[in-house]
Every structure is written in C-alpha cells, then in structure tokens.
Subunit: 202 residues, 2 copies
Amino acid sequence: METRQCGPIGRPRGFDADEALERALLVFWEHGYEGASLSSLTTAMGISTTSMYAAFGNKEQLFRKALERYTEGPGAHLAEALREPTALAVATAILTGTVRSTTRPAHPHGCMGVQGALVASDSGREVRDLLVAWRDNSYSCVHERFRRAVDDGDLPQEADPGLLARYVTTLAFGIAVQAASGVGRDELQEMADAALRNWPLT
Amino acid sequence: METRQCGPIGRPRGFDADEALERALLVFWEHGYEGASLSSLTTAMGISTTSMYAAFGNKEQLFRKALERYTEGPGAHLAEALREPTALAVATAILTGTVRSTTRPAHPHGCMGVQGALVASDSGREVRDLLVAWRDNSYSCVHERFRRAVDDGDLPQEADPGLLARYVTTLAFGIAVQAASGVGRDELQEMADAALRNWPLT
DNA sequence: GGACTTCTGTAGCGATCGCTCCAGAACTCG
DNA sequence: CGAGTTCTGGAGCGATCGCTACAGAAGTCC
C-alpha cells in the first residue's frame, strides 16, 4: 500500500482555532472560569457552541488549553525569569514581570492563574484544583531555582530557598490581587523594588 | 394616647438570624459570591428561600451583611492591629493576624475579602466592586496609620507610608491566596516574619 | 459524478439559577 | 373569640446554564 500526500479529509474548519483560543483566554482571564459563560465565550470567539465543542471538547478543556496558552504567553515571564543568572535577578524579574503582565493596558488586569478560579462551586472544583497545582508549580520552580543558587554559592549557605520562594510568590500573588483591584502599575513597581531592597531577607 | 409595652406583632421568626448569617458567611467564604448558590446557602442556613428573602432581602444583600460580619469577626484582626503602638507592631499584627485567620482549621481557608469575588460575571459586577472597595479601604486604613506613625516620629521622616501600606497589604493578599491554595500556617508565618525583618524597608 | 468525512448553525435538551406567589401557620391585639 | 400582622414551606416562575441531536454545507477520495 502506497503512502500518499493528502490534505485533511472533510469540510475544513471555518475559523482560526488559535485566534479563537486567544479570545477565549481573554474572557477567562477577565471573568474567571465560572464567570465566563459559554455564550460569552463563543460570542467572543466568533463561533457557535457546536464548533467550540468540536474543536476544544468542552468548557473545562477549553479552559485548560487557555491556561496553557496563558502560561506560554502573558505568563511566560516566570520561565524567562528563572533563567536569570542570579537569585536576585530572578526575584527581580519575577516581580517586575508580574507587575507588567497584571497591569497591561487593554488587557484584563490581574493573573489568570490566581483569579481564574480562586474559589468555585462544587462543579468547578477540578478547575480550582488545576489552578492550585498551577500556582504550586510556580512556587516549586522558584524553590528549585533558589536551591540551585545556594548550591552555586550565589545565595549564602544559610539562606532558606523555600522561604525565599514563598516570599517572592506571595508578593507576586498579592500583586495580582492588587492589579485586579485596579492599583496602578507604577505604584506596584515601586513597591516591588522596595520589597527586594533587603535581599535575601538577611 | 398611652404608650404601652408590646412585643413584635405577627408570627415570630422560627430561626436565629444571627446564626443563619454565620452559616451563610461560611458558604460565601468558601465558595465565593457566585460559587455559592441559593440552595447551598439556604441548606446551610437551615431555612427556606422564602425565609431568607424575608429576613435578608436577596442574595446580594445577604452577601453584604455576611461581609460586614466577616469584617467584625474573622477579619477583625486588621482593626485590632491598627491600634498597636508602633508601625512595626501594626505591620506584624496585620500579617500574623492574616496568617492565622486564613489558615484556621475547620474554617474556610483564605480571605473572604479576596476570594469572595476577585472576578465575576456581568451579574456579579456590583459585588466585585464592593470587594474592591473593601480591599481599598483596608489599604487606606493602613496608609493613614503609617502616615500618623511618620508624624509621631515612630517612622523616619523619609519613610513612604503609602509604599509601606502597599507592601503590607500586598503580602496580606498574597498570604490569602497561598492559604486558599492549601499552604500551611507555619510556613506562612515564617515567611511573614522574614518579610518584616528589614522594617521599614530601609 | 457518488461515497465518505468533517465542520457548520439552529433548535432545544434537562438542570439549575435567583426569585416570587400563595395559602396556611403562629403570633399580638381588642 | 375574630381581626390583623408576620413568618413558613412548597410549588413554580422565566432565564440561563453547559451541552447535544440533527440536517445540511463543504471539503477529499475513487
């Protein structure tokens, strides 16, 4: 049997799935998982509910894919920050990146990983747990990066990488809450700078 | 016409409104405004929807009264902290109180003022704005307390009360997010202690 | 062309949402 | 007692929830 080049069989998709996901991401980011209704999502995506279900599965899977896209897009500053050469540079980049991404004009304010489903009804428990794991993973990455900084001698031997990671992530989550409340970018940036003035918390 | 002692006219209420409000508070605290359905609320309160509406008005007014109760109960540590004699004692009491109240065993984890409605659908916008104002008021109270500390010479003249207040409230909101994610009390308390080791942020 | 596969919009499913109508129960009055 | 007032549960309102059945449209195959 001969393999042959063949395009996809059947009627081709009438919309750009990537752009539709981006639109859904913005709705989830602004209103949260349960605050975003299917009708508001499909309206923003410009497609019917049938097309959404065919392309993404269901609302929860759409949210999971939107969260992945968020992590690699607006939330990419974390992964980038971890590649900074020193622990202080990592911490600075995390907080600066968080301030910038949570207060971007013409974007939803706050962090999708925080406000996407900080609490939920019973039917949203799985998504809430997904975001708990998302935040815990953020902490773990920072923790491990700081542990490496201790091993490298970048951080003093007596420094507590776990405590430092908890400090930085707590500030980041707090910044996300402040941003969601409408607090301005410059004020948060000043505060972030001041919070790291005494690194690594002597 | 003679005034006379008279009890309340009509059939007396068959439940303790105060205790019912407490039960509703716990449901709102755990699931948020929109995540708490009327049926889950009335079930927890032990009354019918009719009784709830007669006693509290509607869901939004029930939430407002629950928030007041929260502020005077589990959230009272803020008002108490503001009465501490020094700015450092105020900041320490705020963070310690936040850690304790957001990680209390057998209570919902996190802060109702944060997770009650950090985001919402269109129909919940008013409650979201109510909590934005609630958080902003918390910041303002701390801000004013620190301003007074500067006037009193407790904080150095060059200290920025607004920045310090933003720092403390950001940590408190961040602690609330961490607690809602299941992070333990002791770990958060250690972090809070470390965060104030360099007060007032030189 | 006809067979096959996939995407599309409409229409509507059962369930739940917040909320209200209504008749009766439980009290204070005169 | 009867009149007046308020609280109670049940039953159900219209609207919206997430989701799906269905038939037709739009492609690739032979």
